[in-house]
Protein backbone atom coordinates (compact mmCIF):
# COMPACT_ATOMS: atom_id res chain seq x y z
CA UNK A 1 0.00 0.00 0.00
CA UNK A 2 2.82 2.29 0.99
CA UNK A 3 4.57 1.44 -2.24
CA UNK A 4 1.43 2.10 -4.15
CA UNK A 5 1.04 5.53 -2.49
CA UNK A 6 4.65 6.36 -3.22
CA UNK A 7 4.24 5.34 -6.85
CA UNK A 8 1.05 7.38 -7.22
CA UNK A 9 2.66 10.43 -5.69
CA UNK A 10 5.72 10.18 -7.87
CA UNK A 11 3.49 9.82 -10.97
CA UNK A 12 1.49 12.85 -9.87
CA UNK A 13 4.64 14.95 -9.40
CA UNK A 14 6.07 13.80 -12.70
CA UNK A 15 2.87 14.83 -14.48
CA UNK A 16 2.81 18.13 -12.61
CA UNK A 17 6.39 18.79 -13.68
CA UNK A 18 5.59 18.04 -17.29
CA UNK A 19 2.54 20.32 -17.14
CA UNK A 20 4.50 23.15 -15.51
CA UNK A 21 7.40 22.88 -17.93
CA UNK A 22 4.96 22.71 -20.87
CA UNK A 23 3.22 25.90 -19.63
CA UNK A 24 6.56 27.56 -19.10
CA UNK A 25 7.80 26.63 -22.58
CA UNK A 26 4.46 27.77 -23.99
CA UNK A 27 4.84 31.09 -22.20
CA UNK A 28 8.39 31.48 -23.40
CA UNK A 29 7.62 31.04 -27.02
CA UNK A 30 8.73 33.68 -29.44
CA UNK A 31 5.99 35.58 -31.28
CA UNK A 32 8.15 35.34 -34.36
CA UNK A 33 8.27 31.57 -33.93
CA UNK A 34 4.48 31.36 -33.49
CA UNK A 35 3.78 33.13 -36.75
CA UNK A 36 6.55 31.18 -38.49
CA UNK A 37 5.01 27.92 -37.29
CA UNK A 38 1.59 29.09 -38.42
CA UNK A 39 3.03 29.92 -41.85
CA UNK A 40 4.82 26.55 -42.00
CA UNK A 41 1.74 24.58 -40.97
CA UNK A 42 -0.39 26.55 -43.41
CA UNK A 43 2.08 25.86 -46.25
CA UNK A 44 2.28 22.18 -45.35
CA UNK A 45 -1.50 21.82 -45.33
CA UNK A 46 -1.78 23.77 -48.59
CA UNK A 47 0.82 21.43 -50.15
CA UNK A 48 -0.98 18.35 -48.89
CA UNK A 49 -4.24 19.61 -50.33
CA UNK A 50 -2.67 20.59 -53.65
CA UNK A 51 -0.87 17.26 -53.98
CA UNK A 52 -3.75 15.06 -52.83
CA UNK A 53 -4.76 12.57 -55.51
CA UNK A 54 -7.29 10.42 -53.69
CA UNK A 55 -10.02 10.78 -51.12
CA UNK A 56 -7.78 8.84 -48.72
CA UNK A 57 -5.17 11.61 -49.03
CA UNK A 58 -7.82 14.14 -47.99
CA UNK A 59 -9.20 12.12 -45.08
CA UNK A 60 -7.38 13.82 -42.18
CA UNK A 61 -6.80 17.21 -43.76
CA UNK A 62 -10.14 18.71 -42.75
CA UNK A 63 -9.41 17.86 -39.09
CA UNK A 64 -5.92 19.34 -39.45
CA UNK A 65 -7.40 22.61 -40.71
CA UNK A 66 -9.74 22.69 -37.69
CA UNK A 67 -6.77 22.03 -35.41
CA UNK A 68 -4.74 24.80 -37.04
CA UNK A 69 -7.65 27.18 -36.58
CA UNK A 70 -8.14 26.36 -32.90
CA UNK A 71 -4.39 26.19 -32.07
CA UNK A 72 -3.71 29.65 -33.44
CA UNK A 73 -6.99 31.43 -32.72
CA UNK A 74 -5.43 32.96 -29.60
CA UNK A 75 -2.58 34.37 -31.70
CA UNK A 76 -4.76 35.73 -34.49
CA UNK A 77 -3.82 39.40 -33.80
CA UNK A 78 -0.15 38.51 -33.86
CA UNK A 79 -0.53 36.52 -37.08
CA UNK A 80 -2.65 39.24 -38.68
CA UNK A 81 0.15 41.75 -38.00
CA UNK A 82 2.84 39.38 -39.22
CA UNK A 83 1.23 38.33 -42.48
CA UNK A 84 -0.51 41.59 -43.39
CA UNK A 85 -2.17 42.16 -45.91
CA UNK A 86 -3.17 38.52 -45.43
CA UNK A 87 -4.81 37.52 -42.19
CA UNK A 88 -5.21 34.50 -39.95
CA UNK A 89 -8.86 34.11 -41.00
CA UNK A 90 -8.13 34.55 -44.73
CA UNK A 91 -5.47 31.80 -44.54
CA UNK A 92 -7.90 29.44 -42.77
CA UNK A 93 -10.61 30.31 -45.30
CA UNK A 94 -8.12 29.77 -48.10
CA UNK A 95 -7.29 26.29 -46.80
CA UNK A 96 -10.99 25.42 -46.52
CA UNK A 97 -11.65 26.70 -50.03
CA UNK A 98 -8.65 24.76 -51.41
CA UNK A 99 -9.83 21.68 -49.55
CA UNK A 100 -13.30 21.92 -50.99
CA UNK A 101 -11.94 22.49 -54.54
CA UNK A 102 -9.57 19.52 -54.09
CA UNK A 103 -12.46 17.36 -52.88
CA UNK A 104 -14.42 18.23 -56.02
CA UNK A 105 -11.41 17.69 -58.31
CA UNK A 106 -10.58 14.36 -56.73
CA UNK A 107 -14.20 13.26 -56.95
CA UNK A 108 -14.12 14.20 -60.65
CA UNK A 109 -10.79 12.41 -61.19
CA UNK A 110 -12.03 9.30 -59.39
CA UNK A 111 -15.21 9.37 -61.44
CA UNK A 112 -13.13 9.75 -64.62
CA UNK A 113 -10.87 6.88 -63.58
CA UNK A 114 -13.92 4.75 -63.04
CA UNK A 115 -15.29 5.87 -66.38
CA UNK A 116 -12.05 4.96 -68.14
CA UNK A 117 -11.92 1.60 -66.37
CA UNK A 118 -15.50 0.91 -67.43
CA UNK A 119 -14.67 2.01 -70.95
CA UNK A 120 -11.67 -0.29 -70.96
CA UNK A 121 -13.85 -3.20 -69.89
CA UNK A 122 -16.49 -2.27 -72.45
CA UNK A 123 -13.85 -2.10 -75.20
CA UNK A 124 -12.57 -5.56 -74.26
CA UNK A 125 -16.11 -6.96 -74.28
CA UNK A 126 -16.80 -5.21 -77.55
CA UNK A 127 -13.69 -6.63 -79.19
CA UNK A 128 -14.55 -10.10 -77.87
CA UNK A 129 -18.11 -10.02 -79.14
CA UNK A 130 -17.01 -8.56 -82.47
CA UNK A 131 -14.47 -11.38 -82.92
CA UNK A 132 -17.14 -13.95 -82.12
CA UNK A 133 -19.44 -12.42 -84.72
CA UNK A 134 -16.63 -12.30 -87.28
CA UNK A 135 -15.80 -15.96 -86.62
CA UNK A 136 -19.45 -16.86 -87.01
CA UNK A 137 -19.62 -14.88 -90.27
CA UNK A 138 -16.50 -16.61 -91.62
CA UNK A 139 -17.89 -20.03 -90.66
CA UNK A 140 -21.15 -19.22 -92.43
CA UNK A 141 -19.27 -18.01 -95.53
CA UNK A 142 -17.30 -21.27 -95.58
CA UNK A 143 -20.51 -23.26 -95.27
CA UNK A 144 -22.09 -21.20 -98.07
CA UNK A 145 -19.14 -22.03 -100.34
CA UNK A 146 -19.36 -25.74 -99.46
CA UNK A 147 -23.13 -26.01 -99.88
CA UNK A 148 -23.63 -24.87 -103.46
CA UNK A 149 -25.39 -28.14 -104.32
CA UNK A 150 -28.21 -27.90 -101.83
CA UNK A 151 -30.24 -24.86 -102.82
CA UNK A 152 -32.53 -24.85 -99.78
CA UNK A 153 -29.68 -25.22 -97.32
CA UNK A 154 -27.73 -22.55 -99.20
CA UNK A 155 -30.64 -20.13 -98.96
CA UNK A 156 -30.86 -20.82 -95.24
CA UNK A 157 -27.13 -20.19 -94.76
CA UNK A 158 -27.26 -16.96 -96.74
CA UNK A 159 -30.13 -15.78 -94.54
CA UNK A 160 -28.18 -16.64 -91.40
CA UNK A 161 -25.12 -14.89 -92.78
CA UNK A 162 -27.11 -11.74 -93.55
CA UNK A 163 -28.66 -11.80 -90.08
CA UNK A 164 -25.19 -12.12 -88.57
CA UNK A 165 -23.90 -9.15 -90.58
CA UNK A 166 -26.95 -7.11 -89.59
CA UNK A 167 -26.47 -8.07 -85.95
CA UNK A 168 -22.82 -7.03 -86.13
CA UNK A 169 -23.75 -3.69 -87.69
CA UNK A 170 -26.41 -3.14 -85.04
CA UNK A 171 -23.96 -4.05 -82.30
CA UNK A 172 -21.29 -1.66 -83.59
CA UNK A 173 -23.94 1.06 -83.97
CA UNK A 174 -25.22 0.59 -80.41
CA UNK A 175 -21.69 0.68 -79.05
CA UNK A 176 -20.92 3.90 -80.88
CA UNK A 177 -24.27 5.41 -79.80
CA UNK A 178 -23.30 4.62 -76.23
CA UNK A 179 -19.89 6.17 -76.77
CA UNK A 180 -21.52 9.27 -78.22
CA UNK A 181 -23.88 9.67 -75.28
CA UNK A 182 -20.95 9.40 -72.88
CA UNK A 183 -18.72 11.98 -74.51
CA UNK A 184 -20.89 14.40 -76.48
CA UNK A 185 -21.63 16.60 -73.45
CA UNK A 186 -18.11 16.52 -72.01
CA UNK A 187 -16.69 20.04 -71.54
CA UNK A 188 -13.15 21.03 -72.51
CA UNK A 189 -11.61 20.76 -69.03
CA UNK A 190 -13.20 17.38 -68.36
CA UNK A 191 -12.05 16.26 -71.81
CA UNK A 192 -8.47 17.14 -70.88
CA UNK A 193 -8.76 15.18 -67.63
CA UNK A 194 -10.24 12.16 -69.43
CA UNK A 195 -7.43 12.41 -71.98
CA UNK A 196 -4.88 12.05 -69.16
CA UNK A 197 -6.74 9.14 -67.61
CA UNK A 198 -7.27 7.52 -71.04
CA UNK A 199 -3.53 7.24 -71.64
CA UNK A 200 -3.75 4.01 -69.65
CA UNK A 201 -6.03 2.38 -72.22
CA UNK A 202 -4.32 -0.20 -74.43
CA UNK A 203 -6.72 0.51 -77.26
CA UNK A 204 -8.74 3.70 -77.02
CA UNK A 205 -12.09 4.28 -78.75
CA UNK A 206 -10.50 6.24 -81.64
CA UNK A 207 -8.18 3.28 -82.40
CA UNK A 208 -11.19 1.02 -82.22
CA UNK A 209 -13.17 3.20 -84.65
CA UNK A 210 -10.18 3.11 -87.03
CA UNK A 211 -9.97 -0.69 -86.73
CA UNK A 212 -13.69 -1.17 -87.32
CA UNK A 213 -13.65 1.15 -90.34
CA UNK A 214 -10.60 -0.64 -91.74
CA UNK A 215 -12.49 -3.93 -91.45
CA UNK A 216 -15.53 -2.42 -93.18
CA UNK A 217 -13.38 -1.05 -96.03
CA UNK A 218 -11.73 -4.48 -96.52
CA UNK A 219 -15.08 -6.22 -96.37
CA UNK A 220 -16.57 -3.85 -98.97
CA UNK A 221 -13.54 -4.32 -101.25
CA UNK A 222 -13.44 -8.12 -100.92
CA UNK A 223 -17.16 -8.88 -101.29
CA UNK A 224 -17.85 -8.69 -105.02
CA UNK A 225 -20.99 -10.79 -105.19
CA UNK A 226 -23.28 -9.20 -102.64
CA UNK A 227 -26.81 -8.24 -103.56
CA UNK A 228 -28.12 -4.69 -103.95
CA UNK A 229 -29.85 -4.63 -100.52
CA UNK A 230 -26.64 -5.78 -98.86
CA UNK A 231 -24.69 -2.93 -100.45
CA UNK A 232 -27.54 -0.59 -99.51
CA UNK A 233 -27.22 -1.75 -95.86
CA UNK A 234 -23.51 -1.03 -96.05
CA UNK A 235 -24.21 2.42 -97.45
CA UNK A 236 -26.71 3.07 -94.65
CA UNK A 237 -24.12 1.91 -92.10
CA UNK A 238 -21.55 4.21 -93.72
CA UNK A 239 -23.92 7.16 -93.50
CA UNK A 240 -24.57 6.37 -89.86
CA UNK A 241 -20.82 6.30 -89.13
CA UNK A 242 -20.29 9.56 -91.01
CA UNK A 243 -23.03 11.35 -89.06
CA UNK A 244 -21.67 9.93 -85.82
CA UNK A 245 -18.14 11.02 -86.64
CA UNK A 246 -19.36 14.51 -87.56
CA UNK A 247 -20.97 14.74 -84.13
CA UNK A 248 -18.42 13.09 -81.91
CA UNK A 249 -15.20 12.80 -83.92
CA UNK A 250 -13.61 16.08 -82.97
CA UNK A 251 -14.35 15.61 -79.28
CA UNK A 252 -13.23 11.95 -79.29
CA UNK A 253 -9.91 12.72 -80.98
CA UNK A 254 -9.28 15.58 -78.56
CA UNK A 255 -9.87 13.23 -75.65
CA UNK A 256 -8.29 10.02 -76.88
CA UNK A 257 -5.68 11.24 -79.36
CA UNK A 258 -4.73 14.44 -77.61
CA UNK A 259 -1.26 14.64 -79.21
CA UNK A 260 -2.46 14.76 -82.82
CA UNK A 261 -6.22 15.25 -82.75
CA UNK A 262 -6.50 16.89 -86.19
CA UNK A 263 -4.53 14.12 -87.90
CA UNK A 264 -6.51 11.39 -86.09
CA UNK A 265 -9.78 13.08 -87.06
CA UNK A 266 -8.70 13.29 -90.72
CA UNK A 267 -7.53 9.65 -90.77
CA UNK A 268 -11.03 8.53 -89.83
CA UNK A 269 -12.53 10.87 -92.44
CA UNK A 270 -10.21 9.31 -95.06
CA UNK A 271 -11.25 5.81 -94.00
CA UNK A 272 -14.90 6.84 -94.31
CA UNK A 273 -14.21 8.19 -97.82
CA UNK A 274 -12.44 4.92 -98.78
CA UNK A 275 -15.33 2.91 -97.43
CA UNK A 276 -17.81 5.02 -99.40
CA UNK A 277 -15.80 4.55 -102.64
CA UNK A 278 -15.60 0.78 -102.05
CA UNK A 279 -19.38 0.62 -101.57
CA UNK A 280 -20.10 2.88 -104.56
CA UNK A 281 -17.89 0.72 -106.79
CA UNK A 282 -20.31 -2.18 -106.27
CA UNK A 283 -23.62 -0.63 -105.23
CA UNK A 284 -24.77 1.03 -108.49
CA UNK A 285 -23.88 -2.02 -110.57
CA UNK A 286 -25.72 -4.31 -108.13
CA UNK A 287 -28.86 -2.12 -108.24
CA UNK A 288 -28.71 -1.91 -112.03
CA UNK A 289 -28.33 -5.72 -112.23
CA UNK A 290 -31.27 -6.28 -109.89
CA UNK A 291 -33.51 -4.15 -112.13
CA UNK A 292 -32.09 -5.76 -115.25
CA UNK A 293 -32.68 -9.28 -113.91
CA UNK A 294 -36.33 -8.29 -113.60
CA UNK A 295 -36.50 -7.08 -117.18
CA UNK A 296 -36.07 -3.40 -116.38
CA UNK A 297 -33.22 -1.78 -118.29
CA UNK A 298 -32.38 1.54 -116.67
CA UNK A 299 -30.01 4.13 -118.12
CA UNK A 300 -26.50 3.95 -116.68
CA UNK A 301 -26.01 5.65 -113.31
CA UNK A 302 -23.11 6.00 -110.86
CA UNK A 303 -24.64 7.91 -108.00
CA UNK A 304 -27.88 8.43 -106.11
CA UNK A 305 -29.21 11.30 -108.22
CA UNK A 306 -28.26 9.36 -111.38
CA UNK A 307 -30.29 6.39 -110.10
CA UNK A 308 -33.28 8.64 -109.37
CA UNK A 309 -33.00 10.24 -112.83
CA UNK A 310 -32.77 6.82 -114.48
CA UNK A 311 -35.93 5.68 -112.66
CA UNK A 312 -37.82 8.88 -113.52
CA UNK A 313 -36.68 8.70 -117.11
CA UNK A 314 -37.65 5.00 -117.42
CA UNK A 315 -41.14 5.60 -115.99
CA UNK A 316 -41.69 8.80 -118.02
CA UNK A 317 -40.60 7.17 -121.27
CA UNK A 318 -42.70 4.07 -120.62
CA UNK A 319 -45.74 6.23 -119.78
CA UNK A 320 -45.33 8.18 -123.00
CA UNK A 321 -44.94 4.95 -125.01
CA UNK A 322 -48.08 3.55 -123.38
CA UNK A 323 -49.98 6.69 -124.27
CA UNK A 324 -48.76 6.48 -127.90
CA UNK A 325 -49.07 2.74 -128.45
CA UNK A 326 -51.47 1.60 -125.72
CA UNK A 327 -50.57 -1.99 -126.50
CA UNK A 328 -50.83 -5.18 -124.45
CA UNK A 329 -47.05 -5.19 -124.38
CA UNK A 330 -47.09 -1.81 -122.63
CA UNK A 331 -49.49 -3.11 -120.04
CA UNK A 332 -47.23 -6.11 -119.37
CA UNK A 333 -44.23 -3.82 -119.09
CA UNK A 334 -46.08 -1.69 -116.57
CA UNK A 335 -47.20 -4.66 -114.54
CA UNK A 336 -43.67 -6.05 -114.45
CA UNK A 337 -42.20 -2.76 -113.26
CA UNK A 338 -45.02 -2.17 -110.80
CA UNK A 339 -44.57 -5.64 -109.25
CA UNK A 340 -40.83 -5.23 -108.87
CA UNK A 341 -41.18 -1.68 -107.58
CA UNK A 342 -43.87 -2.45 -105.00
CA UNK A 343 -42.93 -5.95 -103.91
CA UNK A 344 -39.15 -5.74 -103.97
CA UNK A 345 -37.84 -2.17 -104.11
CA UNK A 346 -40.33 -0.55 -101.77
CA UNK A 347 -41.16 -3.55 -99.60
CA UNK A 348 -37.65 -4.96 -99.08
CA UNK A 349 -35.27 -2.15 -99.89
CA UNK A 350 -37.40 0.85 -98.87
CA UNK A 351 -35.91 1.47 -95.41
CA UNK A 352 -32.31 1.00 -96.48
CA UNK A 353 -32.85 3.10 -99.62
CA UNK A 354 -33.83 6.01 -97.38
CA UNK A 355 -31.27 5.27 -94.64
CA UNK A 356 -28.52 5.08 -97.23
CA UNK A 357 -29.81 8.33 -98.74
CA UNK A 358 -29.97 6.69 -102.18
CA UNK A 359 -33.63 7.65 -102.55
CA UNK A 360 -35.57 9.99 -100.33
CA UNK A 361 -39.15 9.52 -99.23
CA UNK A 362 -40.32 12.24 -101.62
CA UNK A 363 -38.45 10.64 -104.55
CA UNK A 364 -40.11 7.28 -103.80
CA UNK A 365 -43.50 9.05 -103.60
CA UNK A 366 -42.81 10.83 -106.89
CA UNK A 367 -42.16 7.51 -108.67
CA UNK A 368 -45.40 6.15 -107.11
CA UNK A 369 -47.30 9.12 -108.48
CA UNK A 370 -45.80 8.69 -111.95
CA UNK A 371 -46.68 4.98 -111.79
CA UNK A 372 -50.35 5.98 -111.43
CA UNK A 373 -50.09 7.98 -114.68
CA UNK A 374 -48.36 5.07 -116.36
CA UNK A 375 -51.08 2.74 -115.14
CA UNK A 376 -53.76 4.94 -116.71
CA UNK A 377 -51.85 5.19 -119.95
CA UNK A 378 -51.07 1.47 -120.07
CA UNK A 379 -54.64 0.17 -119.74
CA UNK A 380 -55.84 -0.56 -123.33
CA UNK A 381 -58.77 1.69 -124.42
CA UNK A 382 -62.03 -0.22 -125.57
CA UNK A 383 -63.47 0.25 -129.29
CA UNK A 384 -66.98 -1.08 -128.41
CA UNK A 385 -68.58 2.36 -128.14
CA UNK A 386 -67.22 3.37 -131.55
CA UNK A 387 -68.54 0.16 -133.12
CA UNK A 388 -71.98 0.64 -131.51
CA UNK A 389 -72.00 4.25 -132.65
CA UNK A 390 -71.13 3.25 -136.21
CA UNK A 391 -73.82 0.51 -136.14
CA UNK A 392 -76.38 3.03 -134.84
CA UNK A 393 -75.47 5.51 -137.58
CA UNK A 394 -75.72 2.74 -140.21
CA UNK A 395 -79.14 1.62 -138.86
CA UNK A 396 -80.42 5.23 -138.87
CA UNK A 397 -79.16 5.77 -142.41
CA UNK A 398 -80.79 2.44 -143.53
CA UNK A 399 -84.11 3.41 -141.97
CA UNK A 400 -84.00 6.86 -143.58
CA UNK A 401 -83.26 5.29 -147.01
CA UNK A 402 -86.08 2.73 -146.56
CA UNK A 403 -88.58 5.45 -145.67
CA UNK A 404 -87.60 7.58 -148.68
CA UNK A 405 -88.03 4.58 -151.01
CA UNK A 406 -91.47 3.76 -149.63
CA UNK A 407 -92.66 7.29 -150.35
Amino acid sequence: MENYMKKSLSTFFAMLLIAVSYTSVEAQQSDYEIQQEFRAEYSQLADWIDNAVSTTDLEDISDRIDELESDYRGHSDLINAAIYPDSYQSRIDDLRSRFSAAQQNIATIEELNERVENLSTDLDDFRGQLSEMDERAEALQREIRDSQANERRLSNLVRQYRENVEERDRFVGEFLEDLLSRYESVDASTAAEIAQAAERLEENPVDLVRTILGEYVNYANQQTDLSAPEYLSMKAQHNYFTRLWDNIGERLTQIFDAEEPVQAYQEVRDLLANWNSAIDNRLWGAISNAFSQNGIELDNFTNASGFNNALQSYVNDATQTSRDQNSEEDLERFQNFSNFWNNTVKANWGETLMASEVLSYSQLASIDSQLDDWNQAAIPTSNLMLILFLISVAVIIGLVVALVRKK
Binding site: A27, S30, D31, A82
Partner: protein, 149 residues
Protein backbone atom coordinates in the same frame (compact mmCIF):
# COMPACT_ATOMS: atom_id res chain seq x y z
CA UNK B 1 20.00 107.26 -26.37
CA UNK B 2 20.10 104.12 -24.23
CA UNK B 3 16.33 104.14 -24.14
CA UNK B 4 16.18 104.21 -27.93
CA UNK B 5 18.65 101.25 -28.15
CA UNK B 6 16.60 99.27 -25.69
CA UNK B 7 13.46 99.97 -27.72
CA UNK B 8 15.18 98.83 -30.93
CA UNK B 9 16.40 95.66 -29.18
CA UNK B 10 12.92 94.94 -27.81
CA UNK B 11 11.33 95.42 -31.25
CA UNK B 12 13.93 93.14 -32.86
CA UNK B 13 13.37 90.38 -30.31
CA UNK B 14 9.58 90.68 -30.71
CA UNK B 15 9.98 90.52 -34.49
CA UNK B 16 12.18 87.39 -34.27
CA UNK B 17 9.72 85.68 -31.97
CA UNK B 18 6.81 86.43 -34.28
CA UNK B 19 8.79 85.27 -37.38
CA UNK B 20 9.74 82.00 -35.72
CA UNK B 21 6.12 81.50 -34.64
CA UNK B 22 5.08 81.67 -38.29
CA UNK B 23 7.45 78.69 -39.23
CA UNK B 24 6.45 74.96 -39.42
CA UNK B 25 5.50 73.77 -35.96
CA UNK B 26 3.03 70.89 -36.55
CA UNK B 27 3.51 68.13 -33.97
CA UNK B 28 1.69 64.79 -33.96
CA UNK B 29 1.52 63.18 -30.55
CA UNK B 30 0.93 59.61 -29.35
CA UNK B 31 2.59 57.99 -32.35
CA UNK B 32 2.87 54.23 -31.92
CA UNK B 33 6.01 52.91 -33.59
CA UNK B 34 5.60 49.37 -32.23
CA UNK B 35 6.46 46.50 -34.56
CA UNK B 36 4.11 43.64 -33.64
CA UNK B 37 6.69 40.97 -34.46
CA UNK B 38 10.45 41.07 -34.22
CA UNK B 39 12.44 40.97 -37.43
CA UNK B 40 14.95 38.16 -37.75
CA UNK B 41 17.63 39.33 -40.14
CA UNK B 42 20.69 37.59 -41.55
CA UNK B 43 23.40 40.20 -42.10
CA UNK B 44 25.23 40.02 -45.42
CA UNK B 45 28.98 39.51 -45.92
CA UNK B 46 29.57 43.18 -45.08
CA UNK B 47 27.56 42.82 -41.86
CA UNK B 48 24.75 44.94 -43.25
CA UNK B 49 21.36 43.95 -41.81
CA UNK B 50 18.41 44.81 -44.03
CA UNK B 51 14.81 44.51 -42.94
CA UNK B 52 12.66 44.50 -46.08
CA UNK B 53 9.38 44.55 -44.20
CA UNK B 54 10.08 47.64 -42.09
CA UNK B 55 12.49 49.21 -44.57
CA UNK B 56 15.58 49.71 -42.46
CA UNK B 57 19.17 48.86 -43.25
CA UNK B 58 22.20 49.33 -41.00
CA UNK B 59 25.60 47.89 -40.22
CA UNK B 60 25.82 45.54 -37.24
CA UNK B 61 29.61 45.75 -37.17
CA UNK B 62 29.75 48.27 -34.27
CA UNK B 63 27.44 46.04 -32.18
CA UNK B 64 29.51 42.93 -32.94
CA UNK B 65 32.61 44.86 -31.90
CA UNK B 66 30.92 45.91 -28.70
CA UNK B 67 29.99 42.26 -28.01
CA UNK B 68 33.49 41.08 -28.95
CA UNK B 69 32.18 38.64 -31.53
CA UNK B 70 33.18 38.31 -35.17
CA UNK B 71 29.78 37.65 -36.66
CA UNK B 72 26.16 36.85 -35.98
CA UNK B 73 24.06 34.53 -38.11
CA UNK B 74 20.84 36.27 -37.25
CA UNK B 75 20.11 39.64 -35.69
CA UNK B 76 16.81 40.08 -33.86
CA UNK B 77 15.34 43.52 -34.13
CA UNK B 78 12.16 45.04 -32.75
CA UNK B 79 10.93 48.59 -32.34
CA UNK B 80 8.88 49.57 -29.29
CA UNK B 81 5.91 51.89 -29.22
CA UNK B 82 8.11 54.92 -28.50
CA UNK B 83 10.23 54.26 -31.57
CA UNK B 84 13.38 52.81 -29.93
CA UNK B 85 15.04 49.86 -31.68
CA UNK B 86 16.01 46.83 -29.57
CA UNK B 87 18.74 44.63 -31.03
CA UNK B 88 20.20 41.35 -29.84
CA UNK B 89 21.46 38.04 -31.21
CA UNK B 90 22.43 34.54 -30.13
CA UNK B 91 25.63 34.74 -28.06
CA UNK B 92 25.08 38.40 -27.08
CA UNK B 93 25.09 39.25 -23.42
CA UNK B 94 23.20 42.48 -23.93
CA UNK B 95 20.20 43.98 -25.58
CA UNK B 96 21.05 47.22 -27.37
CA UNK B 97 18.52 50.03 -27.42
CA UNK B 98 18.94 52.54 -30.25
CA UNK B 99 17.31 55.86 -30.82
CA UNK B 100 16.80 56.72 -34.50
CA UNK B 101 18.29 59.99 -35.72
CA UNK B 102 19.06 61.48 -39.12
CA UNK B 103 20.84 58.58 -40.92
CA UNK B 104 21.90 57.25 -37.55
CA UNK B 105 21.03 54.89 -34.78
CA UNK B 106 22.29 56.28 -31.50
CA UNK B 107 22.84 53.92 -28.60
CA UNK B 108 20.37 54.84 -25.90
CA UNK B 109 21.02 51.96 -23.54
CA UNK B 110 23.03 48.74 -23.39
CA UNK B 111 21.04 46.39 -21.19
CA UNK B 112 22.94 43.46 -19.78
CA UNK B 113 20.83 40.31 -19.76
CA UNK B 114 23.23 37.50 -18.94
CA UNK B 115 26.99 37.27 -18.64
CA UNK B 116 26.97 33.87 -20.34
CA UNK B 117 25.29 35.18 -23.44
CA UNK B 118 21.80 34.45 -24.73
CA UNK B 119 21.37 30.98 -26.26
CA UNK B 120 18.31 31.39 -28.48
CA UNK B 121 17.01 34.88 -27.94
CA UNK B 122 13.69 36.26 -29.14
CA UNK B 123 12.09 39.68 -28.70
CA UNK B 124 8.36 39.94 -28.14
CA UNK B 125 6.28 43.11 -28.22
CA UNK B 126 4.37 43.35 -24.96
CA UNK B 127 2.56 46.70 -24.82
CA UNK B 128 4.64 48.92 -22.55
CA UNK B 129 7.77 46.77 -22.65
CA UNK B 130 9.75 44.31 -24.73
CA UNK B 131 9.99 40.73 -23.57
CA UNK B 132 13.36 39.08 -24.07
CA UNK B 133 13.07 35.30 -24.21
CA UNK B 134 15.94 32.88 -24.16
CA UNK B 135 14.37 29.78 -25.62
CA UNK B 136 17.50 27.79 -24.81
CA UNK B 137 17.13 28.29 -21.07
CA UNK B 138 13.48 29.20 -20.83
CA UNK B 139 14.32 32.50 -19.08
CA UNK B 140 12.39 35.66 -19.82
CA UNK B 141 13.32 39.27 -19.12
CA UNK B 142 11.39 42.48 -19.43
CA UNK B 143 13.09 45.57 -20.76
CA UNK B 144 12.29 49.04 -22.02
CA UNK B 145 14.45 51.88 -23.33
CA UNK B 146 15.57 52.67 -19.80
CA UNK B 147 16.81 49.18 -18.95
CA UNK B 148 15.51 46.03 -17.29
CA UNK B 149 12.23 46.32 -15.52
Amino acid sequence: MAKSKLLTLFISVALMISVSACGPSLVISNVDYAQPIESVISPDADNIATDERYAISFSVAPILEEENVDSADQIRLIRNNKGYYFVTAAGFSNVYVFEPAESELKLKRKIEITENGLGQPALNQRGDHIEVVDRATGNTYQVNEEGRI
